[in-house]
Amino acid sequence: MNRPRENGRSHAFGAYLLLTAYSTYLLLPLYWLVTMALRNNADILGSFELFPSNPTIKNFAEIFLNEVWRSGFSNSLSYVALNTAISLTVALPAAYVFSRFRFLGDRQLFFWLLTNRMAPPAVFLLPFFQLYSAVGLFDTPLAVALAHCLFTVPLAVWILEGFMAGIPKEIDEMAWLDGHSFLSFFFRIFLPINRGAIGVTVFFCFMFSWVELLLARTLTASDAKPIVVVMTRTVSASGLDWGLLSAAGVLTVVPGLVIVWFVRKHLVQGFTLGRVS
């Protein structure tokens, strides 16, 4: 509707061809992962099949019945949730003031925050290990959550500031005139307006915390071992079991799907509301 008139059918056809090709490209490796997860290792190594001829859920059963795998999952989910909560809590007020006020050193501060996003995690391996050991947080989900703040907090401030800057400041002024206190305005009016932005931010925090391996591996030993580490350690210790590895891979995709499902409206609308001009 808001597109220019297409050059006839050929453009639309080309567009669908491209979308189909890209979707296939995305789906094929995922399909292969699922078929591997449904076969046992001897079967995988023994014969090449496009469709699993005798599918089994043995791999999944093994994961669900094993305490190490289960705790890996809950550890990962808890540090991701902690990280998202911390990031949002500190980033919301900061993004608000960045979008509304000019203050001494604001630009420098904003840029400096972003530079932290540019710090390669590999650089921080050693000092993180020592710092978190020194304060007694080593091998807890909180350590990983705080370490991941290194890249989620700057990103959260960056995204939220973009969205908030696009919201006219007349809204703030109207609220003052209506007699709202600052806190009441912030929580009752401003945050609900920005729920799309918050959805997108949660998506990004989740995205970068759930998927990270290097810091999560360095900051945990046994108690707080995340699922991604369980995958690398358990599997390599007992020799490569492709079926089991694939099943674990499939399960790590599930939380991502759940998040996408929850923010699907915001993903469509929220991405489009930000500062994009």
Binding site: N2, R102, L131, S277
Partner: protein
């Protein structure tokens, strides 16, 4: 866009962020800088060595090679993913069920743990059990990313495009959706071609999101570690050993604190420099347009 009046009470709002960042970034970074000028023999015996480690690191041939590979990889990633992402975003329908389904599908690779991405492509590309590897073999192309450096690079690039192009698509789509229909109507009245509409209406309005997209892809591709570690382990030989991997071998594997710290500082500066060059180029370009 910002109010012009200064209000330093606003610092209260950024205080929590500063505290978190101080803990998770400033203290560790200071530690690294501190190590980089010392020779640490054991916990109690430390010698100040000045810039010795920096000199040694900068003269390290393996580091220079890793840096070369890193820059080549990041350039290729940007050159492939940004245009591809824009084209796909342009091809997307503007609303409807199909759009929702496609956006959800596109978001999936972004939310898969990076080592699992490596595993997925390992399983997919292996010549004994992988769909891609076996298919290529079937067509007479002996494909082996484990022994042929070129094949390893192609597999890595295919994996990165698979993993990250969707981010560019989502951001570019957000930019396109913000363009008011009036622009398109005006262009139609003027009889603008599809290319002109893209060049003079869509591209300028995409500048903001594309800057974000390029910066994110630059930063992350410069720091890439997990996926090549799982897929190729840096091989064959050292052909896919990038900076992070080389650093991790040095810091964790060989436990050379001083040199590893000097390497870290140089590495961080390289990433900063690359991003800064790109950012100033964009800002300068903006100044020229106006």
């Amino acid at each position: 866009m910002r109010m012009q009046k200064q209000d330093n009470r606003a610092w209260l709002g950024v205080l929590p962020v500063l505290l978190i960042v101080a803990f998770s970034a400033v203290i560790p970074l200071m530690t690294v800088v501190n190590y980089s000028v010392q020779d640490i023999l054991d916990i109690n015996t430390r010698l100040f060595v000045g810039f010795e480690w920096y000199r040694e690191t900068l003269n390290d041939h393996r580091l220079q090679e890793a840096l070369g590979r890193q820059l080549l990889f990041s350039s290729l990633v940007i050159l492939i993913e940004i245009p591809l992402g824009i084209v796909i975003a342009l091809a997307l329908p503007r609303k409807g069920k199909l759009l929702s389904i496609l956006l959800i599908l596109f978001a999936v690779p972004l939310l898969i743990p990076w080592n699992v991405v490596g595993t997925i492509w390992q399983i997919f590309a292996r010549s004994d059990i992988g769909l891609l590897g076996v298919s290529l073999d079937f067509f007479g192309i002996g494909f082996s990313y484990a022994s042929n450096p070129l094949h390893a690079w192609i597999t890595l690039l295919a994996m990165d495009v698979w993993h990250w192009t969707s981010l560019v698509v989502l951001l570019a789509f957000a930019g396109l959706s913000s363009i008011a229909p009036a622009y398109y109507q005006a262009a139609e009245l003027d009889g603008a071609s599809r290319w002109q509409v893209f060049r003079f209406i869509e591209l300028p309005r995409l500048k903001g999101v594309l800057t974000i997209a390029v910066l994110l892809r630059l930063m992350d591709s410069l720091m890439i570690y997990t996926e090549p570690f799982v897929l190729t382990g840096g091989g064959p030989g050292n052909s896919t050993t990038f900076l992070s991997q080389y650093l991790a071998t040095k810091a964790v594997g060989q436990f050379d604190l001083g040199p590893a710290a000097a390497f870290s500082v140089i590495y961080f500066l390289i990433v900063l420099l690359v991003c800064w060059i790109f950012y100033t180029a964009v800002v300068k370009g903006e100044g020229r347009d106006r």
